[in-house]
Amino acid sequence: MSDTPNNKSLFADETIDGQIATLNLGPTHPATHGIFQNVLTVDGEKILDSVQTVGYIHRAFEKLAERRPYNQITPITDRLNYCSSPINNMGWEMTMEKLIGVQVPKKVDYMRVIIMELARIADHLVCNSVIGVDTGALTGFTYMFQQREAIYELYEEVCGARLTTNIGRIGGFERDFSPTFHVKLKKFLKEFNKHFQEFDDLLLRNRIFMDRTIKAGPISAERALDYGFTGPNLRAAGVDYDVRVMTPYSSYEDFDFDIPVGTQGDTYDRFCVRQEEVRQSLRIIEQAYTNMPEGKHFSPDVPEFYLPPKADVYTKMEALIYHFKIVMGETPVPVGEVYHAVEGGNGELGFHLISDGGRTPYRLQFRRPCFIYYQAYPEMIKGQTISDAVLTLSSLNVIAGELDA
């Protein structure tokens, strides 16, 4: 039991008749939204203790990355937090650009910001609507998934894929935004707010929803920082840490947006912070879209990473060589060690890359926020009910793919 003031138990600390039971919440339980196990020690509905098991879908991404050429690591990052894979893709691309020391054109930055903020919206929509589902309100979920569908159609326009996007390249985008993308984005920006407000009205001030989520799975700012929380979950606890502001990347310093913070760090605060972040993301997208600079959609400085156009490959010697080297994964990189972090869908997603100059990373470590949240989960649900535990898990937005990597 945490001794934080807001982590208040619902019941007295003693069990009624000293009888406790063990309950397996997971690995395949509808509430886990993925595969991870919680072995709960319960007295009736109250959780006395819990033990977490991770690794059910561990796919050894870090080891896998050591065997792969740099370009081929992007698809691996898709499968981390699959609710916002574009952020992962671009975080990795920016890490690589940091390592090889290339400055991408401003336009690429702005394009990336648009895609990343769309991904953040999609991620938060999934998280918040699933909180709704876990409280029993299914309807908001379907409303929001229509909007997520619109975002996925935008991804489709940019890269052709929807869930595992593999969007963008090291050095930019493989092609400029298509005319259809512009049409769909304008439509999305125009219509999204109305539908989002509807969802907001459905849950935010709903008495039952508030009773359910307020004081469910709280964590204090101190404990959250101790654990290494980042992202919306830390901001819900009251710490205004946001990678986009603290260490701006991809020209985030150009945009005007607010960082919402909560006070209690409970499920309701996490919900509210995410709701507000969606609105702020929309603001960023609008700014990025209206102020989109002219220029190229890729950096011409990295021909050894950015695949040349097919026409050039057949007509120009250099292009053919680069094409061969990129496809065969034979591009050497400078020796070095970089850490680059982006504000992922649910926290600071960091890439710690050590290169020994070879064709593959010497070591690549992903700083996965979900892994960190899940360590705090036992403490957060101690003394709460099973219902609260389910809500806490969904509001932390622990995604199995990222947790187990």
Binding site: G136, L138, F209, D211, R212, S387
Partner: protein, 376 residues
């Protein structure tokens, strides 16, 4: 006797048929609210979907977990189905029908304790859930069963008290009497339906009926996000079908009881212009229309509201519903006593608020009460 038997069979078939099509209605309503299409593959507009579902349920493997109690595992869904079906027996489905020179009452049994029968049957219904949940030998099922039983006990009290209020007003436990007293729509200067005389009682009854049917926001016994399937986690095939079916039958009966107790049953405005079989048919149709309206309300609530937490559910049941129902009962008692003349010594003290409530209650048409009124 033959006629009664026919009515029993017809009622049985109608209840089952309606329950089956309620599953389709639920899915269609949900789809409508969630901006989806809903089932539309089986038959036109998905009308054959319930048959397809039922067929699927029947032909699936009748699975029983290794450590489950064999007989109780079967008895559980049986009780749930049985109790939900017998409640329909005392509900008056329509005015008397004249057929072949005989008066046929559209009710299986006009027992003089109709309401008590319904309450009793409903409370037995929870045994099915309890037994089923316990016999599954699964902790989630047991949790569901525990939640179901405590929920039933808590909400049955408030439901009982609100029914007592109605019984006090009408002076009868028979469903037919209660419905008949709500004749027409406007009587003696006030609406004749009980909902206008006892709005608080109606709200309490509606909420407790939701809880008794295990409908959202009180669907804790089977809340899928926490307890997987609750009490029916381990059930499959038609045994699961029985549980789900019983739930829809319960919802249908509950809505019928609500419309009978509070919305005048088969009474409708302007019913005095009709008589005989026209009235009987119209009345039955009106009764079903009212019932389906409440079924729709139940579904509407389910697809709108989140569900409560277990302790909040108990809190609402014991600390809100029961006191409200009791206070309402007390006020009703005082007003009835006032109109019956218990405080008649000092008539000039008649307060405005009392007079206001007296008006709706002053519609008692039973002869002895009229006599009491005259003797004042």
């Amino acid at each position: 006797m033959i006629i009664k038997l026919i009515i029993v069979v017809v009622l049985f078939a109608v209840t089952l048929g309606i329950a089956a099509y309620l599953t389709l209605m639920e899915r269609k309503v949900a789809a409508w609210m969630q901006d989806r299409i809903g089932p539309d593959r089986a038959g036109p507009f998905g009308l054959l979907q319930p048959l397809a579902d039922g067929g699927k349920m029947f032909f699936k493997e009748d699975f029983r977990p290794t450590n489950a109690d064999k007989w109780l595992f079967i008895i559980g869904p049986g009780i749930a189905m049985f109790t939900s079906l017998i409640t329909g027996a005392v509900i008056p489905w329509g005015p008397d029908l004249q057929l072949f020179g005989e008066t046929i009452s559209l009710q299986v049994a006009d027992v003089n304790i109709g309401i008590l029968f319904i309450m009793g049957a409903v409370s037995i219904g929870v045994y099915g859930i309890m037994i089923g949940g316990w016999a599954s030998n699964n902790k989630f099922a047991l949790f569901g069963a525990i939640r179901a039983s405590s929920q039933m006990i808590s909400y049955e009290l408030a439901m009982g008290v609100s029914v007592i209020t109605i019984v006090m007003m009408t002076g009868s436990l028979s469903m037919r009497d209660i419905v008949d007293q709500q004749h027409g729509f406007w009587q003696d200067g006030w609406f004749s339906w009980n909902v206008f005389k006892q709005p608080i009682c109606f709200v309490v009854f509606l909420i407790t009926a939701l809880a008794e049917c295990n409908r959202a926001p009180f669907d804790l016994p089977e809340c899928e996000s926490e307890l997987i399937g609750g009490y029916h986690t381990e059930y499959g095939a038609m045994k699961l079908g029985f549980f789900l079916f019983a739930e829809y039958v319960n919802m249908f009966i509950s809505c019928a009881v609500i419309s009978a107790l509070f919305f005048g049953g088969y009474n409708f405005p302007g019913m005095d212009y009709f008589s005989g079989n026209t009235l009987a048919i119209l009345g039955t149709l009106v009764f079903f229309a009212k019932t389906f309206f409440f079924i729709f309300v139940f579904m509407w609530i389910r697809w709108t509201l989140p569900r409560f937490r277990y302790d909040q559910l108990m809190h609402i049941g014991w600390k809100k519903m029961i006191p409200i129902a009791l206070i309402n009962l007390l006020i009703t008692g005082v007003v009835i006593a006032y109109t019956e003349g218990w405080f008649s010594k000092d008539k000039s003290n008649e307060s405005a608020s009392n007079a206001k409530i007296e008006q709706p209650l002053g519609v008692n048409t039973s002869p002895e009460k009229t006599k009491t009124g005259n003797s004042l």
